[in-house]
Amino acid sequence: MFKLLGQVFTSLFLIVFVVWPTNPNADPFDECPSKAYLFQSNNVQIYGVNLVTGSYTLLEDYVGIDGNINGVGFNFDDRYIYGFNTSTYEVVQIGGDFQATVLNVTGLPSDTTFYVGDVSANYYYVYRKNTGFYRINLDDSRDDYLEAVEVVGADVSLQLTDFAFHPGNGLLYAVDNKTGMLHQISTETGANVELGDTGETGTFGAGYFDVNGYYYVSRNSDGHIFRIDLTDPDSPEPEAVLFAQGPFSNQNDGARCAFAPLAIENTDWGDAPTSYSTLFADNGPRHEITEDLYLGSIIPDGESDGLPFAVNDDQSNTDDEDGIGFVTAIEIGLDGLVQVIVEGEGYLHAWIDWNSDGSFDELTEKFIDSEFLTTGTHLISYRVPDTAIAGNSWSRFRLTSSEELTAVGGAPDGEVEDHAVSISEPDISYRYYPSESGWVALAYEDIWPGVGDYDLNDVVMQYRIVELVRDGEIIRVDLYGTLVAMGAVYHNGFAVHLAGLNRDSVDQDRLRTLFNNELQALNPLEEGQSEVVIKVSDDLWENVDSDCRFYRTETSCTDEIEFSFEISVNFSQPPTLASMPDAPYNPFIFASSFWGRGEGFTETPGRDLEIHLVDQPMTDLADQSLFGTGDDTSDVSSERYYKTNSNLPWAIEVGTDWLYPKERVDILEAYPMFQDWVESGGEENSDWYISENAVIEKIYQ
């Protein structure tokens, strides 16, 4: 609601100020600024504070008059900042050039200073405990211009150092420094309502609102900026959440145009799943990008928000997650080493979700606490707790100039990197296919047993396998996938067959399935099979919400990637390395039930119809009578599967994440080297699929 309100006000603001008469003093601010202004020191200095990250810059070191200016507030109506010179007991006006002009205000008690003030509706309000609450008219068209009027009967018992106006209801809010209680104050009567405990105490010298109704208070002693959720003022949530690390000072006051949203720019974000508080809405970790402090060799790229899920930081922009490497296995109860590459000087803070509960516990899961590092490559030792749980989990690393930092909230500099980790019992080996975070692509033509148009994009699935090996046996397999394209009208499911492995060898109680990083309550081990078949989806169209006729194969379809999976298969009877099928195993698509399949089928074939990679067998649930029909020349007796009479495939595996052909573009047009690869039986052009060999205008990107 406040967002809308803010837009309305912004529009009004633009209209009003085009025709508003200029003040005879310094020019006003040009706009309703997003930054907060922090007034510190005596003589006063003005800093611009980015509330998102807590970063700040000195904007003015002398405002043209001596003294400390406090109790500042931004007047939306004339775009000046008003404040009180606590050294000379005068009200001042500050223009867009940050120069102050003394105003001849009458009616305030003499020889009395004010540290608490803010502006609303062309009135400047000041407050002092046990002294009074005053309203000063700032509208020169009114008779009482610059006259201070005491709000009679106001409660002046609160220990305040700043208050701020809510942009939605025009009421004042403040945190009592001594009690930590949040108060709502009426400007009409000066009466206040106690809204609840913020959980924090201290001198909150500066308070600001944003247009959405969040209230930010800055604590002088440590510079912590807390956020209080007043987005629905009828249901306030008084808890103060640590939001960012800002500057600290013993003389602090803040002003901000409350009708401006927070501006997010030049900011680095994390990309762990959302449960780890990755998004801004969850106060996710974020760092102002600085060229003199970061992890790895590459200055981080900026994003507008956290990027959890399949579309993570590296897939969206440059590969800047290059500062962290686990160089030893993360073995329960033993010491591990992590390599950290640092540019600049700062403090490293890091967490591992040891119990895989989807969050970082500050007390038990922060494993590197404020380690000071300088430019270079460092190896840091840590102990994996005995209570850690074996399995896939997440880590978070934050480098910043601040010695204090949690796993969430803003930081004024540095970088955050989130990395998936595997926690294991001792003596486990890992085999990654094709690599720890790389992909192969599985590309299917779905018109089998008829020959297709060979755009090989009817289903394109990025795919990865991680195998955990102990004493010559595979104890666990993790299957990862991301659906990147469906240039198909037909509906297809997707599954992976581990040929030769008895279905009973799987420990069904420990199967773990995540879709889009969310745990699923389903058993992916397909019924009715004698061997292990992991069924990911009955119909991949059900896994995306797209209006495109062809999903991500036509340039007109710009939908994002929407579906990823991660399935962990533990074995109760671990197969030996010799009995384990080779990567990529036997991934296949099958016809979805109830959906038509076009020519040659008088009824929907449904699950009976499977399409596999070349010479990979069908599963128990497939209808073998379909072999040898249409253009297919499969022959079970000679173990020939899914080939035409020219030995052409219906599905291929490609060794990278692959830029696939556009809709209806023959793969030969997109990758001319494919021809020699096929005709030579793989002897030539074995890397035909790398992006350097693609015809750019023929591929989807």
Partner: protein
Amino acid sequence: MEFINEKIINEKIINEKIINEKVTNIVFGLFMIAVFSQIIACGGGGGGGESGTSQPTSVVPEPPPPVLQTKDLVAPDNFDYETSSEVTVDIKLPELSGRRAFVSLFSQYARHENNQWRPDFGSRLMMEKLREGEINRSIKLTHDIDKVLVQIWTDNKNDPPYSKEITVDNATLFWRQ
């Protein structure tokens, strides 16, 4: 999807959506033929204005050379279309015998000014603890990988890693001392 052979539309198919889309494709195809014919028809008459004459020509356009399509290819009978091959990692460093040390292989990495190797940890192909200073493990490498970086870290943070770059030119990645 196949858009060339659109002749069969089976009315028994439950999914009318498919049928509708097929029909749309045919209509679209006819439309495109019409448009394309129009383009060709227009092609002869437009250009050239230098001579000012408009004598009809009897040039018959050359038929475009046939475009090779994948369906025209013929692959060898035994071609398996595999995009990766198995290699054996065979490492033995006796000086690490009895030490807790971990081998990692990477497919992407860089060498920095000080000769220090910097692997891209996301490109890790395997990680395994040495047993008595050696390992012998088979892994599958995709065909775009022609070199790998092997690094071995002990659990002593003061030890720099042992590093070796190995070219993938046969079925064994060999490092023995």
